[in-house]
Symmetry: C4
Subunit: 194 residues, 4 copies
Amino acid sequence: MFEYMKGMIVEAQIDKIIVEVNGIGYRINSSINSASQVKIGQVSTLFTHFVLREDEAHLYGFVDKEELAMFKKLISVSKIGPKVAAGILSTYTPQRLGAYIVSNDAQAIAKSPGVGKKTAERMILELKDKIDDSQVEYDQNFFNHENKNNNEVVDALMALGYTKHEGEQAASAVRDTSLSTEEMIRKALNWLAR
Amino acid sequence: MFEYMKGMIVEAQIDKIIVEVNGIGYRINSSINSASQVKIGQVSTLFTHFVLREDEAHLYGFVDKEELAMFKKLISVSKIGPKVAAGILSTYTPQRLGAYIVSNDAQAIAKSPGVGKKTAERMILELKDKIDDSQVEYDQNFFNHENKNNNEVVDALMALGYTKHEGEQAASAVRDTSLSTEEMIRKALNWLAR
Amino acid sequence: MFEYMKGMIVEAQIDKIIVEVNGIGYRINSSINSASQVKIGQVSTLFTHFVLREDEAHLYGFVDKEELAMFKKLISVSKIGPKVAAGILSTYTPQRLGAYIVSNDAQAIAKSPGVGKKTAERMILELKDKIDDSQVEYDQNFFNHENKNNNEVVDALMALGYTKHEGEQAASAVRDTSLSTEEMIRKALNWLAR
Amino acid sequence: MFEYMKGMIVEAQIDKIIVEVNGIGYRINSSINSASQVKIGQVSTLFTHFVLREDEAHLYGFVDKEELAMFKKLISVSKIGPKVAAGILSTYTPQRLGAYIVSNDAQAIAKSPGVGKKTAERMILELKDKIDDSQVEYDQNFFNHENKNNNEVVDALMALGYTKHEGEQAASAVRDTSLSTEEMIRKALNWLAR
């Protein structure tokens, strides 16, 4: 019902932003990511999601539509409520979280408050094909580690007679930072033989 | 509770319109019919219906009272919720839908998303006598097809000795586009013999 | 939560008033009494009562606090919902209704839409001692009828040896327009012998 | 959802304040403490708590964040609802109530409307370690009575060989106005021997 709230920022804390709209101070539960991007005394727009329960009503809101979109994806995952979702978005930006999801990095995701390994895996399972690859953002060491693994897999596949292109295609299809290089090679071979 | 919302149109998509009223962006679920009649950046009035559930609150709204009135009629039909009702109004204008209802055209109605034959028939059953005949608008081929049928029925009744007036009266009373001409003649005879 | 709504009157019908406050048209369910006292295009204050159910939210509102106070009393009576209460207030002003309640006139009350004899009697039972006698307003013929009855009772008591004061005291204590003069005399004697 | 309401004070009664924000008169349930600090006709900010039930929605609000914080602590105690909490805050300021809680003074607390001994004790049990000692404010006679007790306990402990510092430490650790001096001495000895 409330797509966004536009008003003066009165307070910004790690988990909430108070925005005054026409004399009413609305409490918007948010993330460190958004709270750090608003300025007290300035007018901002927070893109909101209205959470209504039998005996509670809360607003969650973020400074941009991407963060709100990721928040909505997270709460669509069973057993991830709005509070935990906002906590995850206080740990990772939507883009970084997207990268962990598409690269099956449950370990990284489980570092968020209130998220165990099982919930992280369920998140990956339910959201993996809902993440727009062009919107994700891998972290630097992810790239180094990832590339090292990747190259070893491609080299191995080429040693087994596959072309460089086939090797890269297979390596990227089975990319999973929680696997060792050996496991990725085996998975790539299965993928090629599918 | 909310009869209408008057504010600046910020966004218009096939199923929703965002209208800003006093700094709050309200998400109004709507129809292509209404969404195509509003202009971004202009102030418009949307006639609204507030849908409250235990853990959800939504606003549905339309550019004119007729579309809102038809929406309210549709959601009064069992098993037609607000989403399907808005979908039907994205398929047909209220006037065209009214014509299909009074002429028992379940087939045409069932072309709307989320509406099967049974729901279309239930809609006709429950709404037929709630539609204001003067407000309906038949589509062109409906008229041609309808008139052809109609004339044949009147001619047949006149051949059986009834006056033109009696023939026209009976034909219009039993008008039902799902029937063949023969079936309409038989129905008209029963109607005249009632 | 909403004590009153102050805004421009956009529509006034026998059972509802549309008031625009800051771009939002609020539908206020009301009574003929209030609807007839507001003017379209003028700013008015409606004293409101917010009715929230699991899947409905409505506002009821009236032009003065007395009518709102009587409305709240009516909905405190079991089996009288807001709709019936507003209907009663479309039949009688709060002052007239108060008079019928304190004078046990279930018959008059039952003339309101949706109110049977039993509900009227329950209303009298539950509200009689909550009505401020100074606020009630008896209708003219009530007075003539009432006074005629009253005098006959007083005369009879005086004939039986009681003083005028005692007679008037007893007659007013047992005032009940649904009783005949004889029944009131007997009731007055019991009251005096209590 | 509503952190605060800023508007013109229209009415202030012992248990409620009416504040007008943009044409809507909001009924804020409050305490004598807050109601006595607002001025009709002036703009004030009330720090609010939104109470939503299946068929009711209410706002509770106070003139400062401390009173709101204490209100939220009180309603976190089982069997203390918002109405009783506001009643307690009409009896004691948050600072005075804090003092009674940290000094286990169930007797004083139980003087609030709707609060029995058991509820007062449960309040002390559940809130004692949530009260910021620097924020409490003991009443005058509490101090005299408290100090007299305190000195007697310290003197007794010093007579038993403890230093003044140890005596004061123990006396303040076991401070409990519902205990006699003897009981406090015994409790202090146990505390010292822990």
